[in-house]
C-alpha cells in the first residue's frame, strides 16, 4: 500500500538557523513527490515538486528538497529560517499510474525569533 510518513509532529527552529522537515514514502516505481504548506484557516499552497532529474529541487520562498531514492526520502530544507515560515507542512506523493495524491499527516514548523 502507498503511504507517506512525516515522523515529526513538530519541528522547532530558531530564526536564521537551517531547517529540515522530514518525509519518507512507500510507493512502487518512480513517484512524483510534492511539498505543500498550510497556514491557519487556509488552503494548501504548493512549494515544490520532484518529477525526474536532479535530486535537489528548488521551490518557492527559498525552500528546497532533496530526493533520495535509496532511502525513499524527500526532506524539505531551507538554509535560513524566517519567523514567517511557521506553518503546517505536508509531503505528498503520487504514483505515476495514479491520479490521487497520498499525504503525510503534516509537520508543524515553529520558527522562534
Amino acid at each position: 500500500a502507498q503511504s507517506v510518513a512525516q515522523p515529526e509532529d513538530q519541528v522547532n527552529v530558531a530564526e536564521g538557523n537551517p531547517l529540515t522537515v522530514k518525509c519518507t514514502y512507500s510507493v512502487s516505481g518512480n513517484p512524483y513527490l510534492f511539498w505543500y504548506v498550510q497556514y491557519p484557516n487556509r488552503g494548501l499552497q504548493f512549494l515544490l515538486k520532484y518529477i525526474t532529474g536532479d535530486n535537489l529541487v528548488k521551490g518557492s520562498y527559498g525552500f528546497e528538497a532533496e530526493f533520495n531514492k535509496s532511502q525513499t526520502s524527500f526532506h524539505l530544507k531551507k538554509p535560513s529560517a524566517l519567523v514567517s515560515d511557521s506553518a503546517l507542512y505536508f509531503c505528498a506523493v503520487r504514483d505515476r499510474g495514479n491520479y490521487q495524491l497520498i499525504w503525510g499527516a503534516g509537520t508543524k514548523l515553529i520558527i522562534k525569533p
Binding site: 488552503g43 504548493f46 515538486k49 495514479n98 490521487q100 495524491l101
Partner: protein, 115 residues
C-alpha cells in the same frame, strides 16, 4: 489571474441532511480533485473529475458524489450527513494535458460542521 475558488466558506448542517459544495478551478485548468481534511490530519482523496466524468475515486462511500460542468467547475455532494463528515473540504485544480506532471493547486476550502 484568479486562483481556485470555493463556496461557501463555512457551512453548518445536521445529521441526515445533504450538502453541496462548489469549486471553480484556476483559469486554464481542466481537472478538479476533491479532498477531505479532518482536523489534525492530512487530506484524503475523494475523487477527481476530468472531461465531466469521475476519473478516479478514493475510499469514500457512495454518499459522496460529484459533478463537473462544461466550464470545468465542479460540485461535491454529500448525502445523509454523519458527524464524522465534519471536516475541511478542499478542491484542487490542475491542467491534465501536461501529461501527469501536473501540479494540483488548492482553494481555501469549505469548513463543514455536522451537528
Amino acid at each position: 489571474d484568479a486562483g481556485v475558488t470555493q463556496s461557501p466558506t463555512h457551512l453548518i448542517k445536521t445529521r441526515g441532511q445533504q450538502v453541496t459544495l462548489r469549486c471553480s478551478p484556476k483559469s486554464g485548468h481542466d481537472t478538479v480533485s476533491w479532498y477531505q481534511q479532518a482536523l489534525g490530519q492530512g487530506p484524503q482523496f475523494i475523487f477527481q473529475y476530468y472531461e465531466e466524468e469521475e476519473r478516479q475515486r478514493g475510499n469514500f462511500p457512495d454518499r459522496f458524489s460529484g459533478h463537473q460542468f462544461p466550464n470545468y467547475s465542479s460540485e461535491l455532494n454529500v448525502n445523509a450527513l454523519l458527524l464524522g463528515d465534519s471536516a475541511l473540504y478542499l478542491c484542487a485544480s490542475s491542467f491534465v494535458r501536461r501529461l501527469r506532471t501536473d501540479t494540483q493547486y488548492f482553494g481555501p476550502g469549505t469548513r463543514l460542521t455536522v451537528l
